[in-house]
Amino acid sequence: MMQVPRTMSLQHMLTSPNSVIFRMMRSLVLVEHKNERVEPVTRNTIKAAQILGYEITALIVGDRVEKVAKEVAETLAVSKVLVAKHSFLCHQLSEQVAQLLKSIVKRDSYSHVWAPGSTYGKNILPRAAASLNVQPVSDVVQVVDKDTFVRPIYAGNALATVQYISQEGPRVLTVRPSAFPVSESGPCSSKADILYVQDELLSELAESSTRFEGETVSKSGRPELGSAKIVVCGGRALKSAKNFQMLDSLADVLGGAVGASRAAVDAGFVPNNLQVGQTGKVVAPDLYIGVGISGAIQHLAGMKDSKTIVAINTDPEAPIFQVADYGLVQDLFTAIPAFEEEIKKLQRA
């Protein structure tokens, strides 16, 4: 229920341009995209925004954005696509994207602003929120009503229901992608209009001192960790980067992605963008297979919403067995090759 301070008259609520009652209810979703493709987490974010039933505008910021705009307009359930195209937006640096987001939200008075709870969304959205004087909500896992949202705290050991009590300003939200699963998308029934942000707003953008120096992209050819249906995760017990190839091979047979615990990342077995957990990626696949992972709370925070959890560990007391649907107490070096063989047998049958 909305709580209206006693000092605020009905007159004021109806006439104040920032009042929630006066303001049109509509959502703006910041589209995450890379290499001229929409990132899957954008779809989860739109799924979450749809729950409120308001009109949704997708905002695309960048340099080469025509293909992305077309993809969004044709395949996502949005009523409008807003494109901010400028050569100096090519790396989507937080300073400029946040400033642009603020200007657009102010100009068009959106009631809700959404972004994926990825490193992209988490980098930009709080910055835009602060300049709008709004306290954002991170990692929304449930949308209760237009002011009320559920989010995990303490590494997912508790779920907090939080409600905006201030009347002013938009609700600024990042969405935990795994909490809003989407089915494979086909073309939409109707195409959304594509509008380009005019030069005034773009020329207002302050030149940032920030320079993009470069990036290292880890390529694997496997499904993306955050959206894979099957995830095979390895821990310290793998003992070396070379032994991780066993998991790569198993993941390839299963058509799944490979993830890791923090211990495996810190030991240098795999790059850190494969880390699953409180401070890494949060996954919720149909099947999670934890290999040589003890199950520290920080790791469990990243996988315990998986549909089926399998744990393979030599230690029968390992905490991961408390959340596993199927636990196998066996040495991984014998279990994994055997597992792969059994699956191949099944696939041949």
Partner: protein
């Protein structure tokens, strides 16, 4: 250059928590509080920058009621030069924390603010980004490597490698800036006993939101806190063949 490091006192990362019966919040099963691990990494980085002579003074700051001061003692023991405590009995949400930090950063004319990327209690991952916005400074979040470029002495730059989904990204930006630390930025040192004893005697400067001219109006109310849904008890399988059979026929995921 002065550097501001914000540190938060949280339930120790290794202590299990449970939701309180009245759903008002969580409680720790053991009474152990510590500095948020990401804050410790931020502070360690500040100390290393000072050891490399880029930094003249490290200001450690925390916010909250009287009881939070022990993290400042810890910060002094680890190498902070000054400890500042913004005393507030009110609940401080990240926007309020960012406002208070911005006021202190301006007052002290700091050249760099280092924070952890998130606190392990509220898991918000917002304060650094909000601080950068309020100060209109550039930001580098999720840092795993920080270098200072002094090739133009009047315009020092930070060169920061960030951990992003899909890999690593390197940005460089003019100081002052806000940097938030990821896990792999460094491994924090331990406090030596002599340093811990010295830190006990050091003075902690007290500030208040009023003295900083910051009004705190929470925008969010926590309606309730619930335990996450429990998973059904699982079963142990005796061998790989049984595991695959069950995943195929029972769970139907293969």
């Amino acid at each position: 250059m002065k550097i501001l490091v914000a540190v938060k006192r949280v339930i120790d990362y290794a202590v299990p928590v449970r939701v309180k019966a009245d759903k008002s919040g969580v409680e720790a099963l053991l009474p152990k509080m510590s500095m948020n691990p990401f804050c410790e990494i931020a502070l360690e980085e500040a100390v290393r920058l000072k050891e490399k002579k880029f930094v003249s003074e490290i200001l450690a700051i925390t916010l909250g009621p009287a009881g939070v001061q022990d993290v400042l003692r810890h910060a002094l023991g680890l190498g902070a030069d000054r400890a500042l405590h913004v005393v507030s009995e009110q609940e401080l949400q990240p926007l309020a924390v960012a406002r208070l930090l911005a006021a202190v950063a301006k007052r002290e004319s700091v050249g760099l603010a280092l924070l952890g990327k998130q606190a392990i209690d509220d898991d918000s991952n917002q304060t650094g980004q909000m601080l950068a916005a309020l100060l209109d400074w550039p930001q580098a979040t999720f840092a795993s490597k920080v270098e200072i470029d002094t090739s133009v002495p009047s315009k020092m730059r930070a060169v920061v490698t960030r951990e992003v989904d899909g890999g690593l990204q390197t940005l460089s930006m003019e100081l002052p800036a806000v940097i938030t630390a990821d896990l792999r930025l460094n491994t924090p040192r331990f406090v030596s006993l002599p340093n811990a004893i010295k830190a006990k005697k050091r003075q902690i400067e007290q500030l208040s939101p009023d003295s900083l001219g910051v009004e705190i109006v929470p925008q969010l109310r926590t309606v309730e806190v619930n335990a996450p849904p429990l998973r059904n008890a699982g079963t142990r399988v005796s061998n790989v063949a049984e595991l695959v059979e069950r995943l195929h026929n029972e769970a139907r995921v293969l």
